[in-house]
């Protein structure tokens, strides 16, 4: 019972409070850096929206930041394929 109470106090209420080790973030930075130019640009725009956002808003904002604005749907599909963002 006491163990459960102790574990309960360790629960983190907000996921954003978590601090990740620098090596984790650096690995992800390298992975993002390895993406294609437009994919990289699009994921950066996505990161400005936050963890969850409307696809419609992204489609309205992102094209001006891409090298091929007309192909935003393809770029987004590519990001989905490599499991960077999901529905």
């Amino acid at each position: 019972m006491l163990l459960f109470l102790f574990l309960g106090t360790l629960t983190i209420k907000d996921a954003t409070e978590l601090k990740f080790p620098a090596s984790f973030v650096e690995t992800e930075v390298q992975r993002v850096d390895a993406l294609g130019e437009d994919c990289k640009r699009l994921i950066k725009v996505c990161s400005c929206f936050g963890l969850e956002f409307r696809e419609k808003d992204l489609l309205a904002v992102a094209p001006r930041f891409l090298t091929r604005p007309s192909q935003i749907s393809e770029v987004l599909a590519e990001l989905r394929m490599c499991s960077k963002v999901c529905d």
Binding site: T16, K40, C48, G50, R54
Partner: protein, 272 residues
């Protein structure tokens, strides 16, 4: 939001079905009654399938990052100027959008885009909404952020007044009273009106104030837009200070400060 609207439409469809069923039944039995119901049915159908209802059915897809680390990594890859540009575009989109966006989210994009004034006004609106929903912690966080970024002293006093009143309501008189008095000092500095600073008044001034008080309306105006930020800030700060004076058992720092800084003597403090 969308699910709520869908629910409303579903209820509408249910009502149409119900009315049509009743009208069919009554068509058989009572001709006059059925014609009336048929009219009702027609109106419901027109409402449901009019252009005002159709956009509600539009599906909104939400995208989510697979992991918070991925978001942070992507965000850290951008230069400050690039982030500002994207946040600016997002803020402009939300400004012109008809789709309701959370005020705090909207404010954060304006803040990061460097539109401090707009961000602070949105933060304040979000805080007031949070207070109405009894989400005090969130409201205080938003007001603190607005206070740190807004350079307008009247606005700063308003944020302090809101926080002060909420603290005093929770009987945290020392914290609330201190904020309210700082708010009054800011207001006096911004307007050049020294009468806003707590001071000892003559009997004549007191009688005049009492007369003015009696002429006030019993209830505050329903439309808050008519009340200026200056008036709101003044009222909130003054009421908070007054509450601290008249309930000293919950904190005695305000009466002490009044004596120390503003020359008051022998303030009635039954709880002290």
């Amino acid at each position: 939001m969308i699910s709520n609207l869908r629910f409303i439409v579903d209820v509408g469809v249910f009502l149409v079905s119900l009315v049509s069923l009743v009208s069919l039944v009554s068509l058989v039995s009572h001709l006059c009654f059925s014609s009336l119901l048929c009219y009702i049915f027609l109106i419901f159908t027109l409402l449901l399938f009019s252009s005002q209802v159709v956009p509600v059915l539009e599906k909104t897809t939400h995208l989510t990052f697979r992991h918070q680390i991925l978001l942070e990594a992507s965000y850290n890859l951008m230069l400050t100027s690039q982030r500002q540009e994207v946040h600016c575009a997002i803020a402009d989109l939300f400004d012109s959008s008809t789709v309701e966006t959370e005020l705090a989210v909207h404010a954060s994009h304006h803040m990061r885009a460097g539109h401090t004034d707009r961000a602070c006004s949105l933060l304040c609106a979000a805080a007031v909404a949070a207070i109405k929903n009894n989400e005090i912690k969130e409201a205080v966080n938003m007001l603190t952020e607005a206070l740190a970024n807004d350079e307008n002293k009247v606005n700063q006093a308003y944020y302090l007044g809101l926080m002060a009143w909420e603290s005093v309501r929770k009987l945290q008189n020392d914290v609330g009273g201190s904020m309210a008095m700082n708010g009054l000092l800011l207001l006096a500095e911004a307007t050049g009106d020294s009468s806003l600073i707590p001071r000892i008044v003559t009997q004549t001034e007191l009688d005049e104030s009492h007369l003015e008080w009696n002429e006030l309306q019993d209830m505050p105006p329903e439309d808050e837009t008519d009340v200026s930020i200056l008036e709101k800030a003044t009222s909130l700060c003054m009421i908070s200070v007054a509450k601290c004076i008249y309930s000293p058992s919950y904190g005695h720092k305000v009466p002490e400060r009044l004596e120390r800084e503003f020359g008051f003597k022998d303030i009635a403090m039954p709880g002290r």
